[in-house]
């Protein structure tokens, strides 16, 4: 008996639109990641090197993006800031995402009272904005990178738990899950073997979108002085510091601001592109 693919060839026009979003997202995010990685081994100048003589020099006169009030090279600071922002965001999303995914899978598998309890717990955490929890955590742990990571991660848990639980609940009634139950598998094995792979695309999309959000939150935390302590530069603190010199040296605000906007934009494009590609919803003809 012959085995023939029964897949429909997708419509060209929409797939071009889909892939252009994806490509833009990939390029922007890829460039940012590359810059962040490069900053670990090389920057034009050490980002903390103070050269008072060259303070507040305009772009291109001293370094590509000029210098700040202490004569530090802005390009080097933005590069190191990229690493600080991205690594904080990735760590936060990794921790929050995996805890939230486990909670969501559990809630969907258990149903009934445990699910209701888990979801109410999510509501409570939702009620605390990350900035508030960072301030509370900061009071206990002191400010620093891990305070920011934990504050953002805690905020991510209910976001992922909600999305995963919702998606998993769509999967549970399917016949292949029933068949797995009939094959003697318990809820935990079923969640790992059948539910998780089938909602992985939704999780991946959520990860990219939440990464963007985490970068934004990290920036606001360090803007408020709740993020990584000086001297290591972060985009948020660079923005905060630039306020004083906004009239004399606008590039000080533009460089980190643009970096934040670009990072969030790129990740959102990537998320949108991934959603469209992973979930094509091609109209099926029968």
């Amino acid at each position: 008996m012959s085995v023939r693919p029964t897949v429909l060839p997708g419509d060209k026009r929409t797939s071009v639109a889909r892939s252009s979003k994806l490509v833009a997202g990939l390029v922007i995010t890829g460039v940012l990641c590359a810059i962040a990685l490069v900053s670990l081994v090389w920057t034009p100048l050490p980002p903390t090197k103070i050269q008072i003589a060259y303070k507040l020099t305009a772009p291109l006169q001293q370094g590509l993006l000029g210098t700040d009030q202490l004569g530090r090279d802005v390009l080097s600071m933005v590069m190191v800031g990229a690493w600080n922002s991205l690594s904080t965001a990735v760590a936060a999303v990794a921790i929050g995402g995996s805890l939230g995914t486990v909670a969501g899978l559990f809630a969907a598998a258990a149903r009934g009272t445990p699910e209701a309890l888990a979801m109410r717990a999510c509501d409570i955490v939702f009620a605390l904005p990350p900035i508030l929890s960072a301030m509370m955590l900061g009071a206990f742990l002191g400010t620093g990178r891990w305070t920011a990571i934990i504050a953002i991660a805690v905020f991510m848990i209910p976001v992922f738990a909600r999305v995963v639980c919702g998606a998993a609940r769509q999967i549970w009634p399917r016949d292949y899950i029933q068949a797995a139950r009939g094959a003697g598998k318990g809820p935990m094995l079923i969640s790992i073997e059948h539910v998780l792979p089938n909602i992985s695309s939704q999780i991946i999309v959520q990860v990219t979108i939440q990464l963007g959000l985490a970068i934004l939150t990290e920036a606001s935390l360090s803007f408020l002085g709740l993020g990584m302590p000086p001297p290591s530069p972060t985009w948020g603190r660079m923005l905060a510091d630039s306020q004083t010199y906004l009239a004399q040296a606008p590039w000080l605000a533009v460089a980190p601001g643009l970096a934040i906007a670009l990072a969030v934009f790129g990740l959102n494009m990537l998320g949108d592109g991934l959603r469209d590609t992973l979930d094509p919803r091609t109209p099926l003809l029968r």
Binding site: M1, V3, T6, R174, Q178, K185
Partner: protein, 325 residues
């Protein structure tokens, strides 16, 4: 005579729908069903949507728990077994689902899908031979062994139903419950699957419960048939006899409304035979009372029980004596 493979006694399943403000409503999907299924037979169940046939199917393979009643499988009451023992017992009864597109995990390869029950049931030493057994099973259901390395979407509906059949059979179960396994298939492929069921019964001695809304399919494949209406069995007997000479007025109606190639619309309008459905639900009486052409006053107050009618059949109707062909 060997004892029946499955004995279902007074099986009832209620579903509760929650509505606003904690007001809930109970619907009885399955109502006091008692049934025996003989070893090596193909038992057909017919009924319309909402008649409880899928609920009965899921209970028979313990994918759901009954509100009351029991299912005795091969001498063991499956709902009184502890969870671990029930899990181990599952290898003896498997299910095939209606939708060949929804019953296979799209993210797993066919070989893994078919081998899944073995991962739970097979002993450690036997696990190494899983791929051999999968290959043998694929050939058994008429697919090439190379199919194991492909994903479900690379197959057509009929081929997927063969894969589902292979998964159900790999644990060498005694009973396979198939819930509308051919309804989603094209006519030209339907016959292939029906023949496969017949072959598997003949060569491997598997007992089948075959559920369908299509009378012709049941008539073609089943030895015995149970007719369901509103969660109850209304008639049970040898398939050919039941369809040739229905004793319950509902079976009669089902048969009359099935369209064959020589039917003509307009010859015998349905509406003329049907009485007005009364508003509000009857309690206590026969569920078919409202549509029944031969109902008497007794039918509206007393629910008929499934009883032998003296010709080797079970019928739930007060008016059995007056149903004549």
């Amino acid at each position: 005579m060997p004892p029946p493979l499955v004995e279902i006694a007074n099986l009832t399943r209620d579903f509760r729908n929650h509505r606003f403000f904690g007001i809930s409503q109970t619907t009885r999907a399955l109502d006091d069903v008692t049934l025996q299924i003989d070893q090596g037979s193909i038992f057909g169940i017919v009924g319309e949507s909402g008649s409880g046939k899928s609920t009965l199917a899921r209970l028979m393979v313990a994918l759901d728990r009954p509100t009351s009643g029991k299912v005795v499988f091969d001498g063991e009451d499956i709902f009184s077994l502890p969870a671990a023992a029930l899990r181990h017992h599952r290898r003896n009864f498997q299910m095939v689902f209606q939708d060949p597109f929804g019953s296979l995990d799209p993210r797993q390869k066919v070989g893994r899908i078919i081998g899944e029950p073995l991962h739970v049931f097979a002993s450690q030493s036997a696990r190494g031979r899983v791929s051999e057994r999968v290959a043998a099973m694929l050939e058994n259901v008429g697919l090439p062994a190379t199919a194991a390395d492909l994903y479900p979407h690379q197959f057509s509906g009929g081929q997927r139903q063969r894969i589902a059949m292979a998964r159900a059979l790999i644990t060498e179960p005694k009973l396979v419950v198939a819930d509308e396994p051919v309804s989603a298939l094209d006519l030209s492929v339907q016959a292939q699957i029906l023949n496969l069921v017949l072959d598997l019964r003949d060569t491997q001695g598997v007992t089948f419960v075959f559920i369908s809304h299509n009378l012709a399919v049941i008539d073609c494949i089943a030895d015995k048939v149970g007719v369901m209406h509103s969660g109850r069995l209304v008639e049970v007997g040898p398939a050919h006899e039941v369809f040739d000479q229905p004793r319950h007025p509902y079976t009669h109606e089902l048969r009359a409304s099935a369209l064959s190639l020589d039917n003509e619309i307009g010859a015998n309008p349905v509406a003329a035979r049907r009485r007005q459905t009364p508003l509000g639900k009857l309690t206590g009486g026969c569920a078919y009372y409202a549509q029944c052409p031969i109902a008497v006053a007794r039918c509206s107050v007393e629910r008929p029980q499934l009883r032998p009618d003296g010709t080797g059949r079970l019928v739930a109707c007060h008016q059995v004596a007056s149903v004549t062909e």
